[in-house]
């Protein structure tokens, strides 16, 4: 019980640190580097490793909504596209991309980022049609979002490759299986 509470506290601190890191990254870095979407990369990485853990979806929901407080776009548009993307990718990883090779991870990143930004553009376009918010420029969006997709997917794949070495070495399930084989 005590360890469960401690674990939850640590997760809460960790998730807030991640939000802070995401905001700070965008605030402090220049144009190509700041396109890296830390939150999407981390949550995609988490659902690639364990798509059956629902806890991740709710953690993502919390962090996306907190970040939305610092955005100028109408409240809810960005976080809605992010959470729908994660749910969609969760379903895809459970049913379609069941393999966990590097190519699949790369493809997951590409599909997720394109789906996320397409949904975002559609929602922003709908919003600009109904409201006075008319900051809608398809040229600049395409440029930004293409850069974001490439950088985020690249880092996600690289991070997956590096982390898979340690996860396979340190995860109890793998350790036990290896011992049995020996």
């Amino acid at each position: 019980m005590k360890s469960k509470i401690l674990k939850n506290i640590l997760i809460f601190i960790g998730i807030n640190f991640l939000i802070f890191l995401h905001l700070n990254w965008r605030n402090n870095f220049g144009d190509p580097i700041r396109f890296f979407n830390i939150l999407m990369a981390v949550f995609l990485w988490l659902i690639i490793y364990n798509p059956r853990k629902h806890y991740n979806i709710f953690l993502a929901l919390y962090s996306f909504l907190i970040c939305e407080l610092f955005y100028n776009t109408p409240f809810g548009i960005e976080s809605f596209s992010q959470i729908i993307t994660l749910l969609f990718m969760n379903w895809v990883l459970l049913n379609v991309f069941t393999n966990r090779s590097t190519i699949i991870v790369f493809l997951t990143g590409i599909v997720a980022m394109i789906f996320y930004r397409l949904l975002f553009i559609v929602l922003l376009f709908l919003n600009s049609s109904f409201h006075n918010y008319n900051n809608f420029d398809i040229f600049i969006y395409t440029k930004i979002f293409w850069n974001e997709t490439i950088i985020t997917t690249g880092v996600l794949t690289l991070f997956y490759l590096i982390s898979s070495i340690f996860v396979k070495r340190l995860h109890p399930e793998y350790v036990i299986n290896t011992t049995r084989l020996i």
């Binding site: 905001l23 700070n24 610092f70 100028n72 409240f75 729908i84 459970l94 049913n95 900051n135």
Partner: protein, 254 residues
Amino acid sequence: MRFYSFKKTYLSAIGLFFLVILLHYFGYLNYPENKIRDLFLVALKAVDAKKQVTATTACVSSSVGLDNEILTVKNKLLEQENSELHVQLNFKNQSHSNLVTAQIVAKNLDMVDRVIILDKGTNDGIKKDQPVVYGNGVLIGKIIKTEDTISFARILSDNESKIGATIMNSDHSLGIVEGGFGLSIKMVFIPRNENIITGDQIITSGLEMGTPRGLLIGKVAAVENESYQPFQQAIITPEIDYEKINLVSILIAK
């Protein structure tokens, strides 16, 4: 073929999301939202201050001792802040508007817009459409959104930014200054027969509500006057680099 699906999880996540959105738009979440925002902004400010100290330390000579170095850095930062405040105080004395000095706590967080977040909000009398200036009256942008303790200002280089302006030439040409994808600023809708020279200064025209005449925007860098177009346009060099400012003032009409 059997599909794995976690309907309960998916539905509860979407339901929870819509509940938060509803509560947000009805205003029930204002208090916690402001508190969360303040907490994160304090942390962002702290990092920004540390970054400034580090950057200045790199500029200071390494021949002096570490304590001396830190003191020199702090001194330099205070001097810089002091001179910025001094210029703004001069401007305040000359201006017919009230000035609220604000610190920039974050820039361009949502990637889509060129927007800065200021640490003053409706509690300090900030309202939408008030002009944001730097130093001795250089226009940076306009307030577009306010919260209790913070406000969002769109800078001139944002592609949605549009401000009425005048060129300080013999014709006193009128036009609209607008941003170009965060990369440049240009003045459009200038009549073709008016004479513009590179280096002419551009100021606000004062034809908009809440924006006084005479706030400096920049200088003409190039003129594009094509025979097949009804108007000419001028590319503007901004008076300052918008990415390198920390302290600004918001003009509140008396």
